[in-house]
Amino acid sequence: MSQRDRTERLLNLLFALMAFQRPVPKSYLRESIQAYQDSPSDEAFERMFERDKEELRSMGVPIITVEGADGAGGVEGYRVAADEYALPPVELTPEEAAVVGLAARVWEQAALGPAAQSAVRKLEALGVGGLVEGPVGVETRVATAEPFFPVLLEAVRTRRAVRFDYRKGGDAEPGTRHVQPWGATSRRGHWYLVGHDVDRGAGRVFRLSRVVGGVTAVGPAGAFERPADLDVAAMIASAEPEPPTATARLTVRKERGNALRRRASQVTLRTDADEIEVPYADDERFARELVGMGADVVVLDPPSLRDAVVRRLRAAAGEEAR
């Protein structure tokens, strides 16, 4: 079946569902729509019809199912009410139209790009103008690289569980995870899945770039409830470094270490190199940052940080002493 034939069939089904003030029995649809008449068997028709119905629903067509539409009970009928079908009138000021246009462009390189574009076309079909042109002094883009993103998004929306293989940072081999997906969140260029890890019985955060292969939805829709007090931002942030608990004393060469100087709680200027104090949380993490600056920075205190830096420098110098 060609794309054109399928489009035509979906279009005629939609027309038939909207044609009357009352629900339409399935038997009527089979008789009146050419492509259904041509289907070789009842089973083939049923399959085709179910698929078409789901396709229209996924586009947002509100199809109502009614029992006993033939008056005898038991036989299903279907209907789309005109006022349920149509997008209500929307009027936007030029300023509102400009920000809605900006919003739609956010997803240009993302899985939601076609949906954003389609939404804009609908607003334009209502007569709203000014959605595409005009610089506003800001442009925002959020990309989605993962081909399984739409599957995940639909699972979040319909509250279906998902299964995927996941490689934690540092693990050589991925492991299978079963998760009730509460939401998807982008932060600093990465998309995260936040959800209930069924095997571990706890809320977890997963980085989508570490999912190996695809994501498969499993089980029925509406299988779980999203926690009412869910704070996705806090969950993702909890996977981040803790607030500073220690202070390092460092010497920094003149004109170097500018980023460090900005974080310093104290700066003492000297003739050759300056002495600064910088709050930090974790010896190893901070040592990694400092080592990148080579001879521009030297740790004076605390000894634990000094040792961590020296050990890393030895490793980088090829003097394996780890």
């Binding site: 997008l87 076609p114 939404a119 595409v132 998004l153 932060r187 170097r256 500018n258």
Partner: protein
């Protein structure tokens, strides 16, 4: 919006047809070529769409039950400049309500825009969101599980100055610390705020570099609005946002990453990635500045192996030895 390729599935085409009929009604007399351009499809595709519509309609499919659209000229021919008039839309007079994805796309992006620094109208974001939520009905629930967080990380005074300069069209004097720790002072003509994947940049014409430059907002130490109005040269080329991220340009380098530093391939734009066994990755990445790679090698020691630039590996070793000297002396 032409950046998004047309959806060629049956559902995608149906979406277009359902938007096309009401759009033609609110843009009566538009031409075939203008409609094709608006919907981002070829003239041939648009004519096919119209031909499909006029043979479709309510069951019975008699003349009174079909969609009727006039897009022929007086000789019954189709030419691209023909005006289009919808005579009978049947049940397609108004656009279909928003799908959940459509509602989520607009509402989540508006929420994001409200948090992005810039001179855009915050009041308009709030009122537009309220109008769209009302129109979307139940579909707004699709936006619940989706969010984009932005960490501008800018000092409040810097953010105020940048927004004020953009709103008033005046130059800025900034003190900037670059990715490699270089501290510079520059006068710039602000063009716009660009927020890419959660990071926020000021895009501006830099008088010092005499070129367009992007400055990460969290690396601007201070900013002062100047009296002089902006004068971005007319031939200045703004950043191509299609590329999605700010890719460094430079000769590529090939690295072998141990399992504990696989994340490097996620954090930095790479030209190629492949599994190299035992959880290791072989990556090819563009190198804008050799000093950047030397820093990376210092930080991660033997976890990164440089496969094709022994000189850079040697430089990192020399830097490490120089730094160690300071400790043994002390």
């Amino acid at each position: 919006m032409s950046a998004v390729r047309p959806d060629t599935t049956a559902a995608g085409r149906l979406q277009r047809l359902l938007a096309l009929v009401p759009w033609l009604r609110t843009h009566d007399g538009t031409t075939v070529v203008a409609a094709a351009e608006h919907f981002g499809v070829s003239v041939d595709t648009l004519v096919e769409d119209l031909n499909l519509l006029i043979v479709s309609g309510l069951p019975g499919y008699g003349p009174d039950q079909l969609v009727d659209i006039d897009f022929f000229d007086d000789e019954g021919e189709i030419t691209v400049s023909n005006p289009i008039t919808v005579i009978e839309p049947q049940t397609l007079a108004r656009p279909l309500r928003f799908s959940p994805d459509e509602a989520a796309a607009l509402l989540v992006a508006l929420r994001l825009l409200a948090t992005v620094p810039g001179p855009h109208d915050r009041g308009a974001i709030a009122s537009a969101s309220a109008k769209l939520e009302k129109a979307a009905g139940d579909a707004v629930r699709a936006a619940e599980g989706l969010a984009v967080l932005v960490d501008a990380g800018a000092a409040p005074a810097v953010r105020d100055a940048v927004e004020s300069a953009l709103a008033s069209g005046r130059q800025l004097h900034i003190v900037y610390v670059g990715a490699l720790d270089d501290r510079t002072e520059r006068d710039v003509d602000p063009l716009r705020i660009v927020s890419l994947d959660g990071r926020v940049y000021l895009e501006a014409w830099c008088h010092r570099a005499e070129a367009m430059r992007t400055f990460r907002l969290d690396r601007i130490e201070s900013a002062e609005v100047l009296a002089a109005p902006v004068a971005v040269p007319s031939d200045a080329v703004p950043l191509d946002l299609q590329r999605g991220v700010l890719r460094p340009e430079g000769a590529p380098v090939t690295l072998l990453l141990a399992p504990q530093v696989r994340w490097i391939a996620e954090e930095h734009p790479v030209d190629a990635v492949e599994e190299a066994g035992d959880g290791r990755l072989r990556v090819v990445l563009p190198l804008a500045d050799e000093r950047w790679l030397v820093r990376l090698l210092l930080r991660h020691g033997s976890a990164i192996e440089v496969l094709d630039r022994p000189d850079l590996a040697e430089r990192a070793r020399a830097d490490a030895l120089a730094a160690l000297a300071a400790y043994s002396a002390g």
